[in-house]
């Protein structure tokens, strides 16, 4: 699956990191880093991460 985060929207509320730490993390400057092509097995937690994003900046599968 493909994941895209609109980094112009991201405010690092970190909700995606809590929901799917396998694919999202924060670096030492509190900036979001993520895996743009995680395995399909992670789909449920990544969908939950997208729903949990308070600025709705996470898009799946080319959306």
């Amino acid at each position: 699956m493909r994941v895209r985060v609109d980094m112009t929207q991201c405010q690092t509320h970190a909700q995606c990191v809590f929901a799917a730490p396998e694919a999202f993390a924060l670096n030492d400057d509190d900036e979001l880093v993520y895996d743009a092509t995680p395995g399909d097995a992670l789909r449920p937690v990544i969908e939950q991460a997208a729903r949990a994003c308070p600025v709705q900046a996470i898009f799946l599968d080319g959306a």
């Binding site: 405010q11 509320h13 909700q15 993390a25 509190d30 997208a50 949990a52």
Partner: protein
Amino acid sequence: MRRIAIAGAGLAGLTAAQELRRLGHDGELVMVGAEPHRPYRRPPLSKEYLLGRGDLTLHGADEIGATWLLGHPAIGLDLSARSLRRGRLPPVAFDGLVIATGVRASRLPGAGKLPGMVTLRGLNDANALRAALTTNPRVVVAGAGFIGSEIAATLRGLNLPVTLVEREHVPLRRPLGERIGAIVAELHRAHGVDLRLGRRIVAVSGTRKVEQVRLDDGTVLPADLLVVALGAEPQVDWLHGSGLRLDAGVVVNRAGLAAPSVAAAGDVARWPSPLLDGRLISVQHYSNAVDQGAHAARALLGVADTFDPVPSFWCHLYGHRLQSIGFTGADYRLHLTASEPDGRFLAEYHRNGHVVGAVTAGFVRHLPRYRQLIAKEDA
């Protein structure tokens, strides 16, 4: 289950509907909402939306294939007939129900209903508040909790004169504790808020609209606008006599059910927290509406495990952002583990010698580690 009704068309209700579809529910979904709007994002309402910015779009409402019954809440629940009453409107029969009716803003007791007095909960409230700001009002905010503090900060951004009245001797004492409350108090003062701590409003007066607000020490504050931000009450009036257990919300069991095939989620729900030894809690934050909305869907379909979330919130104040993980507040012992001259800090909350939560401004990267730690201590 053929037809699942969702009472409450907010974030928790929408998330429940999305999770039901994801898990293969192909029957009817009926969304019953008190507000005329489809689900939208509430967090901006006390922040950038008041400044005329901020997109409230919540993705997904168009994709769940629901019937939307908006603008009229359910006013009663008949558990034996499996039906929601809606007054003169046709009732909604269901096989499964998610209760996600949220909370409403508390009012100032005995203050009457003078124009110029507002609360903030929904989009219509925010629009009314936004309209009231265009006349350059002198503002009094009652309550320095999350909403009151954010509103005060946002209005200072508009350079409006703001007096913030709080009953406790620091803002946010109950949710964050004394020490963090003192930090927030300093932030307010540094940005020109007239902070009145340990005070409460005893009278609101004016001939045709709010003109004066009187405090319990006799102080009279001239005001054009009074924003009442004194917390919120669960929307459960419609469930009295239904047979559901109500206790400052709709009580659900560990599996997320209030009755067979009836789940509850979001601000209105109360559940026994395994992380807090079974204490009944509710968590009125964005993160919980998402977590528990999804859990309610699994509960209805009989595939839920125990609901044991590690909640999280954030609060925007003057360009700073407070963010938390786990359980925070005056009930727990606070350990300040980092405090920088520029205002950044990190603090832990301990209960019976274990970390149950953390709050930070500027050290968000440490919160995921706390989340793991808190979840693990539970296991």
